[in-house]
């Protein structure tokens, strides 16, 4: 019992000393610390940009995908029974989310309201030249092509169409942008980890004799490593401050500019709140983790016996 308590007190003391030593080391190796912090800052700014781009591209893709509809026209000679048949067949398809029927009479009314010329023309015709139609919404963009094909096979359907080609191109372009930015983020994070680990290696190099002595007098590896890990943690946290501020202010400004400008009216950005705070938190965590991992990696070399 008593021994356990002593061990706990010891562990606490080692922790306390580690934090104290890491703080000292940050100031003692000021220029190297600045270098680490700067490289973290720069990469995290790039990471922030990448996150903003990815998330917004994702957002736009989703909103485009929501509009994915197939317009189906029934043939002219179709009977009411056939209409019901078509509707129930389409409804049964797995990929279909929603189906909306519009009869030719409804179309006629709508078109008449659209313009006076149309109204006069339509009224002068003996028969209704328009067709009964369905607007079909699908669940996923991938379902568009196969569902359309299947609908075309149904008896009494004259045509079924969607924005063939273009929609898929937009979405695949967006997907490329998304993958590219995610790849960039990962690459940047790895690079930062290496840079921090190299910077800390330099500070460690100057403290090699200290580590040597610590090992000789019997410091456990963990108590040698902890101060350096804390140091990396601190450098990472400090390095993420500026990117966090830039993200918060920058995004608010961007949102206002894009929102008020007509050129970008198709692009709808994600609302800044709570997105910016979430992004900042991600940056902080990345900074801290990268700093810790980088420095832990750097000391490991000196702990091998």
């Amino acid at each position: 019992m008593r021994k356990e308590v002593i061990e706990q007190v010891k562990a606490f003391r080692i922790l306390k000393n580690s934090i104290r030593d890491s703080l000292k080391s940050v100031f003692r190796n000021f220029s190297l610390s600045i270098a680490s912090v700067l490289c973290t800052t720069i990469t995290l700014i790039l990471v922030a940009i990448a996150i903003v781009v990815t998330v917004n591209v994702n957002h736009v893709t989703k909103s485009v995908e929501k509009e994915l509809t197939i317009v189906v026209y029934a043939s002219r000679e179709v009977t009411d029974e056939q209409i019901n048949n078509i509707e129930s067949k389409i409804e049964k398809m797995n990929a279909v989310e929603d189906i909306d029927f519009k009869s030719k009479e409804e179309w006629k009314l709508e078109m008449k309201q659209y313009s006076e010329t149309l109204e006069v023309t339509l009224d002068n015709l003996d028969t209704n030249p328009l067709l009964d139609s369905f607007v079909v919404k699908v669940k996923d963009v991938k379902d568009l092509a196969p569902t359309t094909k299947e609908i075309r096979k149904i008896d009494g359907v004259q045509s079924a169409d969607y924005g063939e080609g273009m929609v898929e191109e937009i979405i695949s372009a967006f997907n490329i942008v998304k993958t590219a930015t995610i790849g960039m983020v990962i690459a940047l994070v790895v690079v930062t980890a290496f840079l921090i680990s190299n910077t800390i290696k330099l500070t460690i190099f100057s403290r090699r004799s200290e580590i040597d002595i610590m090992r000789l007098v019997g410091s456990s590896n963990i108590s040698i490593r902890l101060p350096f890990v804390f140091e990396g943690f601190l450098l990472g946290i400090i390095g993420s401050f500026i990117p966090m501020i830039i993200t918060v202010y920058g995004y608010f400004i961007l949102f206002e500019k894009v929102g008020s400008s007509s050129t970008f009216s198709i692009v709808e950005l994600i609302k800044p709140f709570p997105f910016v705070f979430f992004t900042s938190l991600v940056l902080l965590v990345i900074g801290a983790l990268v700093g810790m991992i980088g420095s832990a990696r750097a000391v490991r070399k000196y702990l091998k016996i």
Binding site: V9, K10, A11, R13, I14, N17, S209, E210, D212, I213, M214, R215, L216, V217, G218, S219, S220, N221, S223, L303, K304, I305
Partner: protein
Amino acid sequence: MKFIQIKNCYKVYKNGVTAVADLTLNIDKGEFVFVIGASGSGKSTLIKMLYREEKPTKGIVQLGGINVGKLKNRTVYKLRRKLGIVFQDFKLLPKLTVYENVAFALECIGMKNSEIRPKVLKALEHVGLKDKIRSFPNELSGGEQQRVCIARAIVNEPKLLICDEPTGNLDANTSKEIMEVLDTINNNLGTTIIMATHDLEIVKRMKRRVLVLDSGVLSKDYEKGSYRTSESV
């Protein structure tokens, strides 16, 4: 059981050099043993295997019942806490005072400040440096610096003190002082001491057990006092 047991021990470095070959020896508790031999004879390797800086390639190195060669890297510190090690190049931290340098060894193992103080003062008293506790290493002479190292090595009351050419950087008179300090530690505290050295004058004068290494092989093992001037190394 003997305090230190080395049995059929080999050490071959990665570059193919055999530093120690088929070494077998026993050392009792409280002994003072010199290890001598030309450069490259395996003295340092033997010393390094004792504090597990190097692992034996084959054979057993046992220290107080612990098979040192089998220790895992992360548990080596437990062995080091039971040893004191003194080097030729002192290995003091220049930014710390004499007191802090000695206390550093105890801080590293997580001891409380109130426990550290009396231990450090006692160790510094043993080496006769109690009046210099506030000095920095570069304000001390070589002999004094080496005495700080000895104080740091014995501050945790180790059973074994390992010295790798502790007088290598010092002149004859200072070496003599250092040897007196080591001698008192051996006599008064009962600490076992193993010391590698080039300095045959010291070895002759001390009249202790002497191990002679020759290209990795234990060529002679002189009992206490039987080593004579005429022997060449």
